[in-house]
């Protein structure tokens, strides 16, 4: 019998390595852009969640609750197949970056909010009493302290974000998972394809996960 991991299937995979390299490139690109977007959204909405303005806090809640409580798959499917019916045809990479970025932005907003709230309110009061404007106090006093608390969970979000870019496979996004699906559906050499892709995701995520552990330990020592 021929097993799913027969040697000739591995040989075919090594011969077609460019397919997987191309997918890896797409995944890395989408991850970096989505992470940048998620950070920007997360910090903005996270800060909104801690202000005294009720309207900002409501906006924060709507964004976070709506995104966290609907599946990423549906959000991406909507961006891909729903928006064109409304006259907006985004390129597929933008769909991935927007979909994954907005999704993780909501989680990062919660991380940032928790981080800011972990800084004692006396810090803000002291800053304001010293003549800092709210924005200056945030920038120079609160955020630098919050950053140390939020770094480890933030890194975990980055790991999850990389893995979640695999939803691009569903919408012909040209990422690693898409190419693995496409290549292995052609020849049914699914064994080597998915093991290899799994290891490539591991290679991307594992160093980041280690970094999170490292930052966490460093913080404990510092505290």
């Amino acid at each position: 019998m021929v097993g799913p991991f027969a040697w000739f299937k591995w040989q075919a995979l090594f011969r077609d390595w460019r397919v997987f390299a191309d997918g890896l490139g797409h995944t890395v690109l989408a991850s970096i852009l989505a992470l940048a977007l998620a950070l920007a959204l997360g910090i903005l909405f996270g800060m909104m969640g801690t202000t005294h303005e009720k309207v900002f806090r409501v906006i924060n809640r709507i964004y976070v609750e709506f995104i966290q409580n609907t599946p990423l798959v549906i959000q991406v499917f909507f961006l891909y197949n729903g928006l064109p019916h409304l006259g907006l045809m985004l390129p597929v990479l933008s769909v991935g970056v927007l979909g994954v970025g907005i999704y993780h932005g909501a989680y990062i907003a919660e991380v940032v909010r928790a981080g800011i709230e972990s800084v004692h309110r006396g810090q803000m009061e002291a800053a304001l009493s010293q003549g800092f404007a709210f924005r200056q106090a945030m920038r120079h006093i609160i955020l630098p302290q919050a950053a140390r608390v939020v770094l480890p969970p933030l890194t975990n979000q980055a790991v999850n974000l990389i893995k979640n870019t695999s939803v691009l496979a569903m919408i012909a996004g040209g990422d690693l998972m898409y190419h693995a699906d496409s290549w292995s559906a052609d020849n049914i050499y699914y064994g080597p394809a998915y093991v290899t892709v799994g290891l490539l995701y591991l290679a991307l995520c594992f160093p980041l996960a280690r970094l999170a552990r490292y930052l966490e330990r460093k913080m404990e020592v510092g505290a």
Binding site: M1, W7, S182
Partner: protein
Amino acid sequence: MKKLGVLVAGMLLVSSLATGCGSATPSGAGTVASGIAKDVQAIKDRGVLKVGVKVDVPKFGYKDPQTGKIDGFEIDLARNMAKKILGDPTKLELSAVTAKTRGPLLDSGDVDMDISTFTVTDERKKSYNFSDPYFTDGVGLLVKKEAGYQSLKDLNGKKVGVAQSSTSKQAVQAQAKNLGVQVSFQEFATYPEIKAALDSGRVDAFSVDRSILFGYLDNSTEILPDKFSPQEYGIATKKGNDGLAKLVNDTVNEKKTSGELDKLIKKWGLD
């Protein structure tokens, strides 16, 4: 460092399992005293034949959402196989498969055979046994009426949506090259996803075997007259289950010569 060691050990374990699986000695091809192949006897002992079929391809294998019943040309074939092996067409257990799952399900033994619009290719023959073809179809193109395309020629520079079992991709590519037109491809896991992408304008054409396309034809779409690259459907069985493969192949050829196969094709309006 210690953790890295554990990780490496884990990977080695996985890879040794993998190679161990790949080099397993042939089994199941032997015959018992009665002259019935071991792999066929195993199905008889179980008393039910497990077949992987499509449930999203009208006329071939389609699950009616109202009744929940799966029916179609390939389901009738599966019943014929159950009758041949077990003497009773109802001793049949159908599993829904997709292009992505039908290979793994055969390998794991969850299904005995796939009768699932499975196009025979040389590359695939390396992994599975295929029967002689029981149906031949051509690849076609479904487009929006409003686009006004007349044939593949008009699709220069356009996007074609195909399923991830892409014999249709190669077929369209070859035909496009002949005509001197350039098309690009977007692959999706299921046919309904391609239809959704066609409706939203993400792709300009939906390409798959014509008989499958007819299931997705509606008021806003039309099938172009192009028909190319014959696709031959075979019944797939696991390599090593060679007794079963022979029985399946003999049965397909029996039905062909007796004219029963043609009758079934007529019954489902596939001629």
